[in-house]
């Protein structure tokens, strides 16, 4: 059976991809950022999962204004890095895990999540920068990746509560997969940042750290934070943090923090990074009819 072994949260600032690709990660500006990932890289070398469910948002790369899915799950074989306006990053293609991805997609729909299934798309910095931060620059990414793209660009994005519940449903799906796989869930984006208008550059160190605190232990208070609070407190792009709640939801009732890193600034953004382990990975059972088929059967018989 598959199992969720850990969760990782990380910002996905495009400049970090540039810094890594141009070997600048040791520069004065970048060293304090990259050094906060050293522990995680070593830890990952020992606890490498088979598959990462990588929650990120597309930044007007795979999806334009013609189609805006709230939750899109990549069920394809592989994904090429997107050309975001300066040519694609020279990083390896991302290999998918269609078996697990389709299993999760199907399970989520039975659990009444209205998923969009994607079989072909390019992936942008939202997905490739986290891989770079945690794995460096290998010839081939060391594990398979299931992209889970969340709309956090056009309002409204999904609520924090919906994201947390999606995480719980992902955990149920992973737990019911028959192959023996270690699965990590990564939540990316954030922390404080505002990339637009006269208020650009807003950083809220205190709120960001309150959010990091809230990922640990048995509390689920973060799931109830309304969008307006992210906007007021953390800048217009801080809303990306709802994606971390999918990761947190997937870890179950109680978590432990293995590693924590916070740094300001990276370009316009506060960098946050955390490695979490489930202590009690229990998630609620599916409340739906189709999701627990035995009950559905009972209704027909």
């Amino acid at each position: 059976m598959a199992r969720i072994t850990a969760g990782i949260a990380t910002s996905h600032v495009p400049l970090l991809g540039v810094a890594a690709d141009q070997n600048k990660s040791g520069d004065d500006y970048f060293a304090p950022i990259f050094s906060g990932y050293e522990w995680s890289r070593k830890w990952l070398a020992d606890t490498l999962p088979d598959v990462i469910v990588l929650v990120y948002n597309d930044h007007a790369s795979a999806f334009d204004m013609k189609i805006i899915p709230t939750f899109a799950i990549g069920c394809g074989e592989s994904y090429a890095p997107a050309d975001e306006g300066w040519g694609p990053r020279e990083v390896p293609d991302v290999e998918g895990h269609p078996d697990l991805a389709w299993h999760i997609a199907q399970s989520l729909i039975l659990d009444e999540f209205d998923m969009t299934i994607i079989n072909e798309m390019d992936v942008d910095h939202g997905l490739t920068v986290p891989l770079t931060m945690l794995f460096g620059a290998p010839d081939k990414w060391p594990c398979k990746v299931i992209p889970l793209a969340v709309n956090v660009v056009t309002y409204p994005p999904p609520s924090g509560n919906r994201c947390w519940a999606l995480g719980e449903a992902i955990a149920r799906a992973v737990n019911s997969f028959n192959d023996d796989l270690d699965v990590q869930v990564w939540g990316t984006g954030g922390m404080s940042h505002q990339l637009q208008g006269p208020r650009a550059g807003l950083i809220n160190r205190e709120w960001d750290n309150m959010f990091l605190d809230g990922l640990v232990g048995t509390t689920d208070k973060l799931r109830h934070i309304p969008h307006i609070e992210y906007l007021r407190e953390t800048g217009s792009e801080g809303i990306e943090m709802v994606m971390w709640l999918i990761m947190r939801g997937a870890l179950g009732r109680e978590t432990k923090a293995l590693h924590r890193h916070y740094h300001v600034p990276c370009s316009n953004t506060a960098i946050g990074h955390m490695v979490l382990e489930p202590v009690d990975g229990t998630v609620p059972p599916s409340p739906t009819i189709e999701g627990k088929n035995a009950a559905a059967q009972a209704m027909i018989d």
Binding site: R199, I228, S267, N268
Partner: protein
């Protein structure tokens, strides 16, 4: 009323911020689609070669065209541009996200960069216009 109207109304209370709502998405539809087009190397070439001619291929108002030519990003936001779409313009220009973003503030880039190095813009007084907090 306790619904989408309230939800949206609160966004107007945030200082110096345009939240990318449906209303903005509709207004800026063709502007954002134009910017998205710059993800293709061919289109970037054509745009660089003759910006005006390239812009004429898109359903854009004269106002939007002028704002693109002037790289007036606040004006582009007001016209329904979204920053992730607009970022294809500054990628095409080869300027950094931070520099492009600084042009929307009342600072020049070195001052903006220095503010970021000092910990960024404080949220104090930036949360709510009405509540002055």
């Amino acid at each position: 009323m306790s619904d989408i109207h309230d939800y949206l109304a609160e966004f107007d209370d945030i200082p110096g911020t345009r939240v990318f709502t449906a209303a903005r998405a509709r207004q800026g539809y063709h502007l954002n689609q134009f910017a998205m087009g710059l993800m293709k190397a061919d289109n970037r070439e054509r745009f660089r070669a003759d910006e005006k001619a390239y812009l004429d291929d898109w359903k854009l108002s004269d106002q939007a065209k002028s704002a693109v030519l002037a790289r007036d990003y606040n004006a582009l936001l007001d016209l329904g541009g979204n920053i992730y779409f607009l970022s294809k313009i500054f990628s095409t220009d080869g300027i950094s996200f931070a520099e492009a973003v600084s042009t929307m503030t009342d600072m020049d880039f070195p001052t903006y960069r220095e503010m970021m190095n000092q910990g960024g813009r404080s949220p104090e007084g930036q949360r709510s216009i009405k509540e002055k907090r």
